[in-house]
């Protein structure tokens, strides 16, 4: 990176920490620290909800996925707008009127303390693990671009976020999210615009889209009914609906954002704001990845996107890599010529598709070689976009895009740390240990718990390298626990089942999800559906048993 890029990145990092501390000054108790005094407006909460959901993985992983696999991942968001409407009608009014700090507090009002505790514990497990992966993804980017180790990146990013969240709590989180989301939107339009501008003069956007289409990169609507096929229209609409219901309705990292609204109307509007904008925004990000794919038609792509691994393969298997480079050069030239032919005559798509397949085959050989040399399940999808940024952006823009990736990571991390501390504090410390402590003591413990979760996130991030493609990992963690959590909230709101049946149903539902996950019987997008349905069905089936055997107890 050029010196100007470093300056831009440093200004962002120092500026966001200072702003976060300024915005969060004056917290006097848990209501200020965890719910920003319950006086926030819909647009600030809406941007915060959006920023919390957009992690750095959205930039790094999704663009890379669009490059290698196309835009199919977009269907994951198709259920989201419908989920927002359902939540505005059902759960949001319940939470708001119950004046709770955590979603799980409501379960004690409806069922009992152990149901609340178990659900909160599931949230802490799922979110606690994913928060580490959220922190890990940007470290991949910076290990390539900045030449830092992943450990250094994790420590700088985690440390700076921990500082302002520990100091200012939810008010810092929401206001920094607003700034970070503005920066992220700017970054999305910048990357999209530059991706178009970087196409060769004789290749129009329409030509580029024709190439992407011939290579299968524009496929979105897969109507296959298979439960194992990833990202079908149905898994997106149904599975995505349940994932969104669970995430926005029962995950404390999101619930806490809209509980800070000054009224129920403000809380609802913040969710509907996301319902309108989420799918178009994700479409733009994926299309940027597709345009990066088109860009590399006219620049020879490297055999491997991970530069350190490429250097290692170069050292340990130079002859084999040289042979692959030679084949790659030829296959790239062939594809370039086929692309030019396709641009001039759309009837040449068969030749183009053949050239693309040959290039993919050479690339598969390079990946197989990297796997053999490193002895790992090598996957460099997450390195594609950073390599592109480094190759094309000048004049401080690379630093700005890196700052955007930092912003995406820090906005997610801040919301998650704040919510993990809230659940630990309200559902465990205040519930079981010190229910009558003073406001000052509560505030102090809340800050300590935030710091503890921050350190935990850093430790998990340092171990995340062993996991697969980051984009799926984060979502997969959630799918193991969000379905059963959603199921118990459905029981709470829609039925009159007793507490013991709800508690047993959660355990049964979690067993079903883990069985499906371990056996790989369904794609992970269906796990939330399975978990929610299993808990709901078990609750309904168990409910009459105790009534029959012990009617007096009812």
């Amino acid at each position: 990176m050029a010196p100007l890029d470093w300056v831009v990145l440093a200004v962002y990092l120092v500026g966001i920490v200072a702003f976060g501390m300024w915005a969060g000054r004056g917290s006097r108790g848990m209501n200020d620290f965890f719910l920003a005094g319950r006086n926030m407006r819909w647009w600030a909460i809406g941007l915060s909800v959006m920023a919390t959901q957009i992690s750095a993985i959205t930039f790094v992983g999704t663009t890379g996925q669009a490059y290698t696999d196309g835009m199919r991942f977009l269907v994951f968001y198709f259920g989201l707008p419908f989920a927002m409407v359902i939540l505005c009608v059902t759960l949001v009014p319940f939470f708001y009127r119950a004046r709770v700090f955590t979603a799980y507090e409501y379960l004690e009002q409806r069922f009992d303390a152990r149901t609340r505790t178990l659900t909160s514990l599931l949230f802490l497990c799922g979110r606690g693990l994913s928060v580490g992966v959220t922190l890990y993804a940007p470290s991949l980017v910076l290990s390539v671009i900045l030449g830092w180790t992943e450990t250094t990146t994790i420590l700088i990013m985690g440390g700076s976020t921990i500082v302002y969240v520990v100091y200012g709590g939810n008010r810092s989180v929401i206001w920094t999210d607003v700034v970070q989301m503005a920066l992220i939107w700017f970054g999305i339009f910048l990357c999209f615009g530059l991706a178009i501008a970087r196409l060769p003069a004789d290749v129009s956007m329409r030509d580029g889209l024709a190439m992407a289409q011939a290579a299968g990169r524009l496929n979105v609507m897969d109507t296959s009914l298979s439960l194992r096929t990833p990202y079908t229209l149905w898994s997106g609409l149904i599975g995505g609906l349940f994932v969104a219901l669970a995430y926005f309705g029962t995950d404390q990292s999101q619930v806490q954002r809209y509980l800070a609204g000054s009224s129920l109307t403000q809380s609802r509007l913040s969710l509907l704001f996301n319902a309108f904008l989420k799918v178009p925004m994700q479409f733009l990000i994926l299309l940027t990845g597709v345009l990066v794919f088109v860009y590399y038609h006219f620049q020879e792509p490297p055999p491997l996107w991970n530069a350190p691994v490429l250097a290692r393969v170069e050292r340990e298997a130079p002859a084999e890599l040289a042979a692959i480079r030679e084949k790659l050069g030829y296959a790239s030239w062939q594809r370039r010529e086929a692309a030019k032919a396709l641009a001039a005559d759309r009837a040449r798509s068969v030749e183009y598709a053949r050239a693309q397949r040959e290039l993919d085959a050479v690339r598969a050989q390079a990946v197989a070689l990297a796997r053999r040399v490193t002895g790992s399940d090598y996957n460099d999808t997450n390195y594609i976009f950073p390599t592109y940024i480094l190759a094309t952006l000048r004049g401080g823009l690379a630093g700005l895009v890196i700052a955007v990736i930092f912003a995406a990571a820090m906005s997610t991390l801040s919301g998650e740390l704040n919510s993990l501390a809230t659940a630990s504090m309200v559902d465990f410390y205040k519930r079981y240990l010190r229910p009558h402590a003073s406001e000052a003591q509560d505030l102090f413990v809340s800050r300590v718990l935030t710091a503890v979760w921050g350190v935990f996130a850093v430790l998990v991030a340092l171990r995340a390298r062993q996991l697969g493609s980051a984009i799926e990992v984060v979502n997969r963690f959630g799918s193991y626990v969000y379905g059963p959590i959603l199921g118990v909230f459905m029981l709470a709101v829609l039925t009159r089942v007793p507490a013991w049946a709800a508690f047993t149903a959660i355990l049964a539902g979690e067993a079903v999800v883990m069985t499906l996950a371990v056996t790989g019987a369904v794609h992970w997008l269906w796990l939330s559906v399975a978990g929610a349905v299993a808990v709901f069905a078990c609750g309904l089936l168990l409910s009459p048993l105790r009534r029959r055997s012990a009617p007096a107890a009812a």
């Binding site: 889209l209 524009l218 403000q266």
Partner: protein, 40 residues
């Protein structure tokens, strides 16, 4: 607590906003389907 005088912006009532969100989502998905199959 929800204030009785907190108005519902632009659309006037909640059902109208919800209907607008659903229609908008359906239109966006239809446009994406057209985009992905358009003979570029």
């Amino acid at each position: 607590m929800d204030e009785p005088h907190d108005p519902v912006p632009v659309f006037g009532t909640w059902p109208r906003i919800y209907a607008a969100v659903v229609v908008c989502a359906a239109v966006v998905m239809a446009l994406i389907a057209v985009f992905s199959r358009w003979p570029w």
